[in-house]
């Protein structure tokens, strides 16, 4: 929609105000529905798919969270009995649940901050290096981005293996005593490993997106500021970041949503049996539902997770609308 317009607007030296738009476009500015029903009809196939693939399971999950479904109902196809808000009460008064929420929130905060800061740093670097080096950087990051989470997690698991891992070996060679060191006995060290994995996998997307955003920062502005005596940090803070602000907000919100639902990495790194200190909301919901066969309780936890995430989504949607309003 209008997002397309905003991307091309700042770079072109156009006369003030939009160039005389063709008649139909001017009509569109005033009333968004005057283009006829075509946009809606075009969106219908995608909507149908979304409702089918996501909507139906969501509804089933919400319904399940108000029932009490166990293994017997699963095997014999019985209708699970209604228990109202029992599951929610159980979840919200459970200490274990709140410790899992706290852990997930802390992890999300730390990993998103690290990913965005490091991603921005890499993007800034990409703007400064020669085009050949930049392409090499992009190719390297593409490989990282393309690697499936499962494969990356397995590799990290072997890297830090206590008996056979390369990292322990190298650290021992360097003189530190890391022989047979277990990286997961202490949850703090274990989370360092998991966070490193998540940040490493998340940097390429942030870096490449912010790199695209950085191309929209007019070079003349930066040059003028430097001539006027601004230091690089001041230029970054006062010119680059404000221009990138919307993009950074979008990228941060996406990262928060993805990292909040962390499942694969702790699951694989702890070999399918994450200890209590390694449980995130997603792994906890799965464990409760499928390991303890308490499908309703797991559904309640998932619904609460979705509600928490919706809260974050508000920012993302608001930002999307803001972009639509900008010229």
């Amino acid at each position: 929609m209008s997002a397309v317009d905003s991307r091309s607007a700042p770079a072109r030296p156009t006369p003030p105000g939009p160039p005389a738009p063709p008649a139909h476009k001017r009509r569109k500015r005033r009333s968004s529905t005057s283009g006829g029903g075509t946009p809606y009809w075009l969106a219908v196939p995608a909507l149908v798919m979304l409702i089918g693939l996501l909507g139906y399971p969501m509804i089933r999950m919400v319904v399940l969270s108000f029932q009490n479904m166990r293994l017997r109902e699963l095997f014999q196809g019985l209708t699970p009995p209604w228990v109202g808000l029992d599951n929610y009460t159980k979840v919200l008064t459970d200490d274990v649940f709140w410790s899992v929420v706290l852990r997930t929130v802390v992890f999300t905060a730390v990993s998103v901050v690290l990913t965005v800061v490091l991603g921005l740093a890499v993007a800034l670097l990409m703007r400064r290096v020669a085009p050949g080096v930049r392409i090499a950087m992009i190719i390297a990051m593409m490989f990282v981005w393309a690697m499936p989470q499962l494969v990356a997690a397995q590799i990290f698991r072997w890297l830090v293996d206590a008996n056979f891992g390369v990292i322990n070996y190298m650290l021992t060679q360097l003189g530190f005593d890391f022989e047979n060191h277990s990286w997961f006995a202490d949850p703090k060290q274990g989370w360092v490993v998991i966070t490193a994995l998540v940040v490493w996998a998340g940097i390429p997307f942030i870096a490449i997106t912010l790199n695209a955003g950085l191309t929209q920062v007019p070079k003349e502005l930066i040059e003028a500021a430097t001539v006027d005596g601004a230091s690089p940090w001041q230029a970054l803070r006062n010119i680059t970041l404000p221009i990138l602000k919307q993009l950074i907000v979008i990228v941060t919100t996406l990262s928060v949503i993805w990292n909040f639902g962390l499942f694969t990495q702790p699951w694989v790194i702890r070999d399918g049996k994450p200890e209590a200190e390694y449980q995130t909301l997603a792994t906890y919901a799965y464990s409760v539902a499928f390991k303890n066969n308490n499908y309703s309780l797991g559904s309640a936890i998932s619904v609460i997770t979705v509600l928490l995430l919706l809260f974050v989504m508000v920012f993302y949607i608001r930002q999307m609308f803001k972009i639509g309003d900008v010229d």
Binding site: L71, N163, A185, F290, N293
Partner: protein, 432 residues
């Protein structure tokens, strides 16, 4: 005369009833002795991967005999142990259900209790009067039988004969001798990677075996409720002994479980370890390609230098698997017949030859005669089993015992605190 007629009538009615009962629909008891024409039908069997890597010939000969007897084909799917219960749950809830399913004996009670398997007629299966209780108890519910024991495994002490002879040690016959041997080995081998007794911190059936060895219990039924017994003094004593071994004589990641203790032992830097009887073979030969169990085997560093003996003072957990006819099976009678053939004496003897333990006590002596199996056959006679609670499998999947053991092994919690926490969790789960 009248009494004789009455008797004859009663007998006839009983026979008639029995005949009608065996003419089963999907709700009756599948008759393993019925002659069913299976031409054109394919029986779907789910076995665990141990059969594929350990005794494929037993499966093949059973399939051959079955096809000869009934004309039906058999399709065997081998499942991995890791997280297989989630797959089992999803499959049993659906409509495309295998006819025969193998489950571990600790997992069976949950499924039997929730109606996943057909009732079976115990008397139709070989050696059923002598079934090992560790295998048959999970199959029984309210006097009815819902599955058939398949094979058993016991744990033994596996030691490096080379290191023992270099240190002048003989195979230990008491628990104190085990600890003394570990001490001697540790003094004589000072390499940083050397474990006199490799004991991973998350080894559930080792930790619990030590509990039992000191006279402790895991959980007892008190009236209607289950009460965890790990916090009792005897259990704590056992765990303290186990923790001593882990902390003083085992080098390695204390949060690991026993999955890779064979490759570690195979490197030749381990004096002793506690493992299943078939691990004796696994440490001496490994498949060339770890991802392909069918690839040719290569000898490891410790080939020919390993022996097994019964673990003194520590009763072994009786591991093993059972086979059941699923409630939604498309061919329950064929399934019952296949199980009968697969667990009869002929198949069991082939199984014994491959190093597994049979499902009945009368066959244990034959198993003891097989090279390398003497230790485990002895161990099986003095074995224990987990509490017979329908929700025991949930205790396993909730990692209660694993977390208790690792917190003791890493020193994060004292034995008293860790066992109290585990008891509370066991009480909650078993009584929920």
């Amino acid at each position: 005369m009248k009494r004789k007629i009455a008797l004859a009538a009663a007998l006839a009615t009983t026979l008639l009833a029995a005949a009608c009962g065996s003419d089963s629909g999907s709700s009756g008891t599948p008759n393993a002795n019925a002659s069913v024409d299976g031409k054109g039908k394919t029986l779907k069997v789910w076995l665990m991967v141990d059969a594929q890597s350990g005794w494929k010939n037993v499966v093949d000969q059973a399939n051959q005999r079955f096809t000869q007897a009934t004309g039906a084909q058999v399709q065997v799917d081998y499942q991995q142990w890791g997280d297989h219960l989630a797959k089992v749950d999803a499959t049993l809830a659906g409509s495309d259900v295998p006819d025969v399913m193998e489950l571990g004996n600790t997992e069976m009670p949950k499924y039997v209790f929730n109606g996943a398997f057909h009732e079976l007629d115990k008397s139709q299966y070989d050696n059923s009067a002598n079934w090992l209780t560790g295998l048959s108890a999970p199959c029984e519910l309210e006097g009815k039988t819902y599955c058939v024991p398949y094979y058993a495994g016991a744990r033994v002490l596996i030691y490096n004969t080379d290191l023992f002879s270099k240190a002048g040690l003989k195979p230990p016959t008491t628990y104190d001798e085990v600890v003394a041997a570990a001490k001697t080995l540790k003094e004589k081998n000072t390499g940083s990677k050397f474990s006199a007794f490799y004991a991973p911190g998350k080894y559930v059936y080792a930790g619990l075996a030590w509990v039992k060895g000191s006279g402790g219990e895991i959980a007892k039924k008190d009236g209607d409720k289950w009460v965890g017994q790990l916090n009792q003094q005897a259990s704590q004593d056992g765990l303290t002994k186990w923790a001593d071994l882990v902390k003083n004589y085992s080098v390695g990641d204390k949060t690991k479980d026993e999955q890779d203790q064979d490759p570690i032992f195979a490197q030749g830097q381990t004096g002793m370890m506690y493992g299943s009887s078939w691990e004796l073979g696994a440490v001496q030969e490994q498949p060339k390609d770890p991802n392909n169990p069918e690839s040719p085997k290569v000898k490891t560093k410790v080939n020919g230098k390993v022996a097994a003996t019964a673990m003194p003072g520590i009763p072994s957990f009786l591991g093993g698997s059972n086979l059941g006819v699923t409630a939604k099976a498309a061919n329950p009678e064929l399934a019952a017949q296949w199980i009968k053939i697969f667990t009869d004496t002929q198949s069991q003897e082939a199984l014994i030859a491959k190093g597994a333990l049979p499902n009945a006590t009368n066959l244990l002596d034959k198993a003891a005669a097989v090279e390398g199996n003497k230790a485990s056959a002895e161990a099986a006679k003095n074995s224990w089993f987990v509490p017979m609670a329908p929700k025991w499998a949930e205790v396993e999947s909730a990692n209660v015992i694993q977390e208790m053991l690792t917190s003791i092994a890493t020193g994060k919690a004292t034995v008293a605190d860790a066992t109290k926490k585990a008891d509370d969790q066991i009480n909650t789960i078993l009584n929920s």
